[in-house]
């Protein structure tokens, strides 16, 4: 729990990490009260790129708000778009063709891999190893090129529509996706050799910043943060949505609770996402990609609706309150990084600043998503 930091009267001093700091990857500020190299207290200050997406949601119609969702987490945007279309389709009773749902899952998982590659890569860069980021970016480029061809955007997608998709995937996409799977598996082996087995890397991460299951629960942590602490929670499995029940995949869980476990979860998730993509491409049904009776002007019945999806950074939830008009009455975005970040203040106490930054990186945060 963060408390206001008083002016130190002893030998401690306040260190302002951020808002412009190489390790925060965006504008985020952590007021750290330092005792030498040790962090004795930390207060995270966020909101530097707050854009009030929730108000925009109230002012825009449902369709107009589609493109806002990819501005939350620009690295794994499709997962967030997925949540939005799902909640509106659920509330409006819009049936989605199966093919569209499969393509959604395939693209979401590709996007998840891209996000994880970038997240892990920049995490390693935070630890001082620059080269793995470049290798991972190369794999990520491959995905972005692929997604650009079908969605028309590299990062800020607006690909999903209520009732289907904007564009069907073609044979080129399928061929490239199929080629990507063995390629990514090969490079994963390389990353494990270069990074996971690296002695310096292991010494820094193993035992770094232990998070108990209790603290994860109290702060509502999800994604790798919870799964690295032995909590087997993945919305795709625990609350299956879309066509995820049709896929055979595992949820990687590590019980160590340290930064290494959080890192390993992300690496293992890339492998599982590859499995999902592989099965999705095999099972991909034919048919239309857009519901025939998809309404042009969407007006949802009165009531409130909640939809959680497993986005790249964790469990992303949308709470939609509708009053029957063409705008949402209230649209709450529950962003996973927000909850994951909020436990940093408590968990980083007593760590040395190097370890605190290693811990910070292992939370895999994207600042625009925290600030919304």
């Amino acid at each position: 729990m963060s408390k206001p930091i008083q002016l130190p009267s002893d030998e401690t001093f306040v260190l302002n990490v951020g808002p412009q700091h190489p390790a925060t990857h965006g504008v985020l500020r952590i007021k750290m009260r330092m005792d030498g190299e040790y962090v004795s207290e930390a207060e995270t200050v966020i909101g530097y790129i707050h854009r009030m997406h929730e108000k925009m949601g109230e002012l825009k119609t449902y369709q107009q708000f589609l493109m806002n969702l990819s501005r939350l987490d620009y690295l794994g945007a499709l997962g967030y778009c997925h949540g939005h279309v799902l909640v509106v389709e659920k509330a409006g009773g819009i049936q989605v063709p199966e093919r569209a749902e499969y393509i959604r899952v395939i693209t979401v998982e590709l996007n998840r891999i891209a996000s994880h590659l970038f997240g892990v890569g920049s995490y390693i860069m935070d630890l001082g190893g620059f080269s793995p980021l470049m290798y991972m970016l190369q794999d990520r480029e491959y995905i972005l090129d692929m997604l650009e061809a079908v969605t028309g955007a590299r990062l800020t997608y607006c690909y999903y529509r209520f009732g289907g998709l904007y564009n069907d995937i073609d044979d080129t996409f399928i061929a490239r996706a199929r080629a990507f799977i063995p390629r990514c598996r090969e490079s994963l082996k390389k990353y494990h050799k270069l990074v996971t087995e690296n002695i310096i890397f292991r010494k820094r991460l193993e035992g770094n910043a232990y998070l108990s299951q209790e603290i994860c629960r109290k702060y509502g942590a999800t994604s790798a943060v919870a799964r690295g602490s032995g909590i087997n929670y993945d919305v795709r499995k625990n609350e299956p949505y879309s066509v995820y029940p049709e896929f055979d995949f595992d949820v990687p869980v590590f019980t160590e609770g340290d930064s290494m476990a959080r890192y390993k979860v992300k690496m293992a998730e890339i492998e599982q996402s590859l499995r999902i993509i592989e099965q999705g491409l095999d099972k991909l049904p034919g048919g239309p990609i857009m519901a025939e009776k998809a309404p042009k002007n969407i007006k949802l019945p009165v009531g409130d609706y909640y939809q959680a999806v497993e986005a790249a950074k964790g469990s992303f939830g949308i709470r939609l309150v509708s009053d029957g008009s063409k705008n949402p009455y209230r649209l709450k975005l529950r962003s996973p990084s927000y909850s994951n970040m909020s436990l940093f203040d408590e968990a980083c106490r007593g760590l040395m600043i190097m370890d605190a930054m290693a811990f910070f990186g292992s939370l895999d945060l994207v600042v625009p998503e925290i600030d919304r």
Partner: protein, 331 residues
């Protein structure tokens, strides 16, 4: 060798030019090398292979304003970057490039080099202290504890070599290693010592020189991800440029010393045609290794760095020293 004014001037110019050019072009080499390692071209726009990049970078840095933050200790703030470059240049006064190519040989040359090298830590401390910046201050504290911790095993290792050679004269040390590579101090078979642990000695020396020059994975003084830029955070313009070049100049000194002490200096690996080119080849091979290490390893933490020194390297080097002493007594 009689020291005429002309000789002195020539030596100064050559040394300064050598160190400065090395520092500038090692930046280029590092960026190209990093590019190679990371599957990207690196600087390749300015001139053939991007070779004009270093002078242009220098021009850009010189064109910038040297900002001195408020409330700093101005004298110390300005001295620090000079001190970063100065010891490296001074060290080359006594470092021989070959049997005849040396600015001024003195019979305690090794001592002289280390006396200058220990000033390097002072520059980091001055910079961090005078910047009035918390990041810089923390970096300065780190840099001092780091250089204290690593100077000890380094010097103990050097004492081992000095005991084998029985001289502090760098030329004499190399002369004793002449012949093929089995005579070198790193390989104990035909050399003066029969200590089989000498490769470890070399390793200790190499690690220590990495740590002394603040190179990755021991670049804790400028640890980007938490201390932003560390001790030189408040420096811009050529102040920063001097720190940057000083780092590379110190690498050259470290690599030269490792070559002289362990790798037979200008001796050819096969006992043929000794000469200055062998010295340079060995030095640049070591520098390439340093660059390679930087782009492969993540950064260590300050406590594992100190643990490595106090709990591993110092006991090992002490043991090695005793073993060498014993072996020298026996044989």
């Amino acid at each position: 060798m009689s020291l005429t004014l002309f000789n002195v001037l020539a030596a100064v110019i050559i040394i300064v030019a050598f160190v400065a050019l090395n520092a500038a072009y090692l930046v280029w080499a590092e960026r190209r090398g990093a590019g190679r390692i990371q599957r990207r071209p690196g600087p390749n726009i300015n001139g053939p292979f991007g070779l004009f990049q270093p002078p242009l970078d220098g021009l850009k840095l010189m064109a910038k304003q040297l900002l001195i933050p408020n409330n700093t200790d101005k004298a110390v703030f300005i001295t620090a970057p000079v001190l970063a470059m100065f010891p490296a240049i001074m060290s080359f006064v006594t470092i021989p490039f070959s049997d005849i190519l040396v600015a001024h040989n003195i019979n305690i040359g090794l001592l002289c080099v280390f006396a200058f090298a220990s000033m390097g830590g002072m520059s980091l401390f001055f910079a961090g202290w005078s910047s009035r910046n918390k990041y810089a201050m923390m970096a300065a504290v780190r840099a001092v504890s780091q250089s204290v911790a690593y100077e000890i095993p380094m010097l103990i290792t050097v004492i081992t070599v000095v005991m084998i050679s029985g001289s502090l004269d760098l030329r004499e040390i190399v002369r004793q290693q002449s012949g093929n590579f089995l005579h070198w101090n790193i390989f104990p078979l035909l050399g003066n010592s029969h200590n089989l642990l000498m490769p470890f000695s070399f390793l200790i020396f190499f690690i220590c020189s990495l740590a002394e020059t603040n190179r990755a994975p021991f670049d804790l003084g400028e640890a980007e991800s938490e201390l932003v830029a560390g001790y030189h955070i408040e420096y811009g313009s050529m102040g920063f440029g001097l720190f940057f070049m000083g780092e590379y100049a110190n690498i050259v000194v470290g690599a030269s010393l490792a070559t002289l002490l362990f790798l037979g200096g200008w001796a050819c690996p096969f006992g043929l045609f000794p000469g200055v080119w062998w010295f340079l080849i060995k030095v640049y091979a070591l520098i390439a290794t340093v660059i390679w290490i930087r782009w492969t390893f993540p950064r260590t933490t300050i406590y594992s760095l100190l643990n490595l020194s106090w709990k591993v390297l110092i006991p090992l080097s002490l043991f090695n020293l005793l073993l060498t002493a014993g072996l020298l007594k026996v044989f």
